[in-house]
Symmetry: C2
Subunit: 633 residues, 2 copies
């Protein structure tokens, strides 16, 4: 991009974290609009929704224009994500105009552009990880498709066989319907069997008729559920890994190219090869990472300039980017503040003894025991006054532990950024203290026993127990791995939200209002068949599934989550096919293919890869040389 001072100022402004937060906020508002639009949880008038949405669109447009000013004009139009944003904004405006006019004329219409909203989340510059995930899906897709066609061929063949074997035998299901007489129904039933959701039920009529027929279903499940589903995982995983490697290779190449360019700008001739002087290097590091300490910078220079010559060549310069990425935790042995302000007391024999006790292993064991006793007490009935008083004792003990630890260890080191468990402990205990006090205050003052606060108190009490995990070394290792793969899982969470949002919008347009849930509904007519007489006596109504509907965006998300978990999805689908038509099955099957076969497998691939990397990683050469230097110092 342009290197004029103005251009750089614009760029700095563009990548400023404040601007990013604002744009993320607008995207959040735009997505959250689904809460207020029909079918709404909190209905807003149409004009209010339109005003909010136009504001968001203006913000996106402004951001895009800003971006266009920063990068060259030709690059801007080459980038598909900019074009995508422009198209989405244009289509949204078009849809709003059409919808506004049709609503004024009291005609039925659909806000179809809402499906496009998640594309904005994908295409803003900041969600690089998310775009990479989508690219890896796009790359895996052709390979997955071939396996999918083969899998569908297998399902169709087995369905044909099932039709021939069972169609003429006059069997009935446990609900009294004819068993395996219609080809399309068989295909659907056997597709559901692949997901195992109707596992023994679909087999029982044939099995009751003759024991040998179970062989048909066993072979079917082994081939389609076990082998094909594993092959899907293998294909997705393989492509994901290949794609990831390719992306990483490209990134490394780009980094190297940029570093070489930087070197060319900063180099000075010295002898027969160009070098970068220490002074220039220092200024560069300071400009790139202003927060870096002088000691840390010194250390990095020592690693780069192995022979202490005061200048470095190209290879040593290029590795700077990697060096800056290595986290160096500065463990300063700071003096405890109490030692500074109250040296007499802090250094007394009693104080030293206390600190010794707290730092002893035995102290940890005692508190592990206390936690276990606490767990038993929580399990007992909390309305017993003895138990409810004991709660205060435990709270006091936990508080005492934190205070003792703060006394024994230096507070700033105790609350360093990587001390996950100390932070966790303190926050939980303080929250529990506040909630418990609030709860007893409410209880004694007004006879009003607030369930919400009590619920929070219960949750906090149980969360406190998790701490015991930290005492066992093996557990800690597993938990640390899980914490490390946290960011990846968050990227994955965004991916899921994008997919869910699209399906929720479509589902709400298709099925809104068809299935009703009545809160405290035992009094209202029709509560036993979800307000729709078609569902009278159906499995959907019998299982109390009325709240699983598409009547607002939160219900839709929960329903989609239930569909992701797969179990009983055919019953949930059957509810919606009963109230609309059999074609509604397409929606549910497509959801299953997209989310369970593709997305969940990518998630499993994510976790597998992250775990393998954690298990098998060996510290890289650069890191080793840094560690060597640290030891030398």
């Amino acid at each position: 991009f342009s290197t004029s001072p103005q251009g750089i100022r614009l760029y700095k402004f563009y990548i400023h974290s404040c601007m990013r937060i604002i744009i993320l906020f607008f995207i959040f508002v735009d997505l959250a609009l689904a809460i207020f639009e029909e079918p709404a949880i909190f209905p807003f008038p149409l004009w209010a929704n339109f005003v909010i949405e136009v504001t968001c669109l203006v913000a996106f447009t402004a951001r895009l224009i800003h971006y266009a000013k920063v990068i060259p004009w030709s690059n801007f139009w080459k980038d598909p994500k900019n074009i995508c944003i422009i198209v989405v904004i244009f289509l949204t405006l078009l849809d709003m105009i059409i919808y506004g006019i049709l609503t004024e004329m009291h005609l039925y219409c659909v806000r179809w552009s809402r499906v496009l909203r998640p594309l904005l989340l994908v295409n803003i510059t900041e969600s690089r990880q998310l775009r990479r995930a989508f690219r890896s899906i796009r790359n895996a897709l052709p390979h997955v498709l071939y396996v999918f066609f083969l899998f569908m061929f297998s399902v169709l063949m087995f369905s044909l066989m099932a039709l021939k074997l069972f169609g003429k035998r006059g069997l009935v299901t446990s609900e009294g319907r004819a068993y395996f007489t219609d080809y399309l129904d068989i295909v659907f039933d056997l597709y559901v069997l692949v997901t195992t959701a109707n596992s023994p039920d679909v087999m029982m009529p044939a099995y009751n008729y003759g024991i040998m027929f179970s062989v048909f279903f066993i072979i079917y499940i082994v081939i389609n559920t076990y082998i094909f589903m594993s092959v899907f995982l293998a294909v997705v995983y393989n492509n994901y890994k290949k794609h990831l490697k390719e992306e990483v290779r490209q990134l490394v190449r780009a980094k190297r190219r940029n570093m070489v360019q930087a070197f060319r700008l900063l180099q000075e001739p010295r002898g027969d090869e160009p070098v970068v002087m220490r002074e220039t290097w220092n200024r560069l590091v300071h400009a790139v990472q202003p927060g870096i300490s002088a000691v840390h910078r010194e250390l990095l220079w020592n690693v780069s300039d192995e022979h202490n010559r005061g200048y470095i060549g190209r290879p040593a310069f290029i590795q700077l980017a990697d060096l800056l990425n290595i986290q160096v935790i500065t463990l300063k042995s700071r003096i405890h503040p109490l030692q500074i302000y109250l040296p007499g007391i802090y250094n007394s024999a009693a104080s030293r003894c206390t600190r010794c006790v707290v730092q002893h292993r035995f102290f940890v064991y005692v508190y592990d025991l206390i936690i276990l006793v606490n767990a038993v007490f929580i399990g007992l009935d909390e309305e017993n006054p003895f138990i409810s008083y004991s709660e205060w004792v435990f709270l006091g003990l936990y508080l005492l532990e934190i205070l003792l630890k703060l006394y024994a260890f230096e507070p700033r080191a105790f609350y360093a950024r990587h001390q996950f468990w100390n932070w966790f402990d303190t926050i939980i205990i303080i929250c529990a203290l506040i909630a418990t006090i609030l709860n007893s205050a409410l209880k004694s003052s007004s006879n009003y026993n607030s369930r919400e606060i009590l619920d929070i108190v219960f949750i906090l009490r149980v969360l406190r127990l998790i701490r015991v995990v930290d005492s066992i070394k093996r557990f800690r290792a597993i938990i640390n791995t899980l914490i490390k793969i946290g960011p990846t899982i968050l990227t994955f969470g965004q991916l899921i939200i994008v997919i869910y949002y699209i399906f929720a919008m479509v589902g709400m347009e298709l099925f809104k209002g068809t299935i009703q849930f009545f809160e405290n509904g035992a009094l209202k007519p029709g509560h036993e068949f979800c307000g729709n007489p078609l569902l009278n006596g159906s499995a959907f109504a019998k299982n109390n599934y009325c709240r699983n509907n598409f009547n607002n965006v939160i219900s839709s998300f929960i329903l989609l989550f239930e569909l992701t978990v797969v179990n009983q999805w055919h019953v949930l689908a059957s509810g919606f096919t009963t109230v609309t038509s059999n074609a509604a099955r397409i929606y549910f099957v497509v959801f299953h293919i997209v989310v369970v076969i593709i997305i969940i497998n990518i998630f499993v691939a994510f976790v597998l890869e992250a775990f393998f990397v954690e298990y098998n990683v060996s510290t890289s050469g650069l890191q080793t040389s840094l560690e060597k230097k640290i030891k030398e110092l």
Copy 2:
């Protein structure tokens, strides 16, 4: 082992395939005894079972003694598998004596030694793959256990939270039972939720009470089902891979050591280094693989002796074992037999034209079209006479295709060992022909419409359609990979049979006779509650699950397969807990942990690894050099 002529004769006799088949037969008989023992499908008198079992034990003992004669005495006692066999034989005899005496005295007793039978299958020398699989499980176990404890800790914590959150709210399930009031029940319910088997049902009461409570279940499922189950897969897979690598490394080392020893025996001094002469080498290859052709041997020698010196050094000799493993398919361009016997007709213009047509791509397309038309005809009602006659047309067309192909291609090349699809086609068509003729003969002669033969005809008809897959290149690649991983899956099948057998024996002793199934039972009393009044009105009886019982070994295997598929396993378990006690849940949970968490994950790891190897394999150096030589020739 001993290298005396007698020792070698004994060893050759020991590894003779005939002896192996005999011992496998006895193992099969021993395992199959479960069909005839109480609870039996075909009850045999006790003495008959005892005679058969003793015969098997004698056979195993004879085999063991034979083995002891072949290998040195000290090695025999060092090998745990021999000790295991001795212990199993001894325990079985002991159990038979006790059981015989107690039965004579009409006392209740249990044939507990039946659980040990699969150990014989594992420990006979031939099932090396199976033992490797068990070793890899044993190696993965400690790592899996730590994750499992952490996972159980998480389940227990969530259960405690659920008890506190929902226990006092007085909610009821859709069946009218109290919701989440007993801690142990909650733990079981939430464990079932991890398997997703009761997925939305267990959440519905809380969700209907308040929409926010669904968050509890969503977090629970994300952590325990998605993350922990993926971690289980990661841990099992990682250990499996590590262990496999270690085993392969050891095997390679052992092979090398043996080859070096062989070289030392065969070497002759020549110049400054010992060598093996061509003559010796030829005799060795002939002794090791008598079936190898002279051309093939020549080829291998040319690869080993690159410089045509007539002798080879140590490195070239050592690679012999690998060379012999490489499959060389000799594609002899044999002359068609008809050309030899009827050259005039075979070489006529009409004949040549026919052959040209058959070999043309168009011929394949035409038959793909015929298969598709056939698929539509199969889907139609076969009682229509027009359709049933068309079946003969299709059979004729397929037969014609095979005959034409045999005419155009050389029959021995057409039925070569690697021509999977040609074999498949021919067998299916011939079977279909026989079955169809048999069926119409029976139909016309005696008015008796045999359903069994008709079923077979239907299955064969549909199987014929599978051939269409072979025409699409991508599909063929996937299918070939699947066929290649076939042997691994078979090993896995043995593993599953061992585990199933153990669980089936235990399950039959625990639950036999508690749940009854009445064939054509609508007339018999108690058929609606499986012959056990305790099941009256239970979900188990309502779902028609009566045939899922432990009353004989085949039912048990089918039930265990249903439990492996996981869906509805809590309903199946509830049937058995209702008729016995809640402690029966332990059996089902242990089965789930062993089979689903460990064995199925190993299966997925198997398939993943096999696929990755297939995708990423590059022909090894040795294979390349062989290919180079072939091209040179």
